[in-house]
Amino acid sequence: MPTQTKAERDWNLLFACWLIASGSALGSLFFSHVMGFAPCVLCWYQRIALFPLVLILPMGLFPLDAKAAKFALPLTVAGLLTAIYHNLLYAGLIPESIQPCAQGVSCTENYFELFGFVSIPMLSLLALSSMTALLIIVKRRND
């Protein structure tokens, strides 16, 4: 197998990031539109960070522009911070009394747990942290 050039590797990393973003966006739409789970406020903040990536990242893929990582990172970091907060809240490590979503759907509502522990906030955390990691790698390689 021929060794990848730097440009190929950058492209692959950004593409992997786009795959995660698109899969997560469709997954969250599946939860809300198909299964009928109403997204809570924190879920919406994470979606705001997630959805634009689906459209922005391809702009860095065609033609390859590693700067896309720089522009996408603020979104994934903001989403990741929200996801961390959401997971702490969900796990009960932050008391419910200070949660910002008293009205509407509770952010600790347990809609769905895959294998008993993979919750929706957990899926979001996994997606946002892996995308952040990929984008940091791309950015470091091009700084």
Partner: protein
């Protein structure tokens, strides 16, 4: 394979996956009979619950009834009118809520009749003759026996069966479900899981019609 193809195929696979998963999920839900997709489905309909009407109907009326309840008898006619007006589109499910004193005896008769496929005839006879076997909201089961012949039942055989302990379990299950669903008066009516609130004949017709419209879009044309 060039990058654009990889990207394009990935996008198509993702969207196709979404579409397929959605339709799979929806058909699975449809199989579980509309509103019963929700986890509380079995609270509305148990395996022992008698059902009337087309199995493919999309509008389910769940009626918690007491055979001695006069309003239940009146609403029975409303249900029949709606089912006649929209053939094949409405299904009726009967649940037992014997709140009157002695009513569970009447429910036992219905359960025995159900085994002989005479449930609906017997229910109609009981509704129609309420004033003959109830007095001051109490059921006098001895006055029910002579009426059963009208439903084509063998009275002696029914009398021998009404002490089946399995019947207690069924009645208790229905009473538990009634409590879960906040049914405290009869008839307790639900149309596709939506409770009849506020209670009323006109409200009932409107609720049925709104469920018919949302499940049969062709009716709105």
């Amino acid at each position: 394979m060039n990058r654009k193809m990889v990207f394009g195929i990935s996008a198509i696979v993702l969207v196709a996956g979404f579409v397929i998963a959605s339709s799979l999920y929806k058909s699975q839900r449809a199989e579980k009979l509309g509103f019963m997709a929700q986890e509380s489905a079995s609270t509305f309909i148990r395996d022992h619950s008698p059902m009337l009407g087309d199995a493919g109907a999309k509008v389910y009326i769940v009626k918690f009834t007491d055979p001695a309840c006069e309003t239940c008898a009146v609403f029975s006619d409303f249900v029949k009118q709606a089912m006649a007006a929209y053939p094949g589109k409405i299904r009726l499910v009967i649940r037992y809520a014997p709140f009157h004193e002695g009513s569970s005896d009447a429910v036992r008769i219905l359960l025995a009749a159900k085994k002989r496929d005479k449930f609906w005839e017997t229910l109609d006879v009981l509704y129609a003759s309420q004033e003959q076997w109830t007095q001051h909201h109490q059921v006098m089961v001895d006055r029910v026996w002579p009426l059963l012949a009208r439903a084509g039942l063998d009275v002696a055989a029914i009398r021998a069966e009404v002490n089946d302990p399995e019947m207690n379990r069924i009645i208790q299950q229905d009473l538990t479900d009634a409590r879960t669903l906040d049914v405290r008066k009869t008839p307790g009516l639900f149309v596709n899981g939506k409770p009849l609130e506020p209670f009323g004949a006109r409200e009932f017709k409107e609720l049925i019609e709104s469920e018919l419209r949302s499940n049969y879009p062709e009716l709105t044309r």
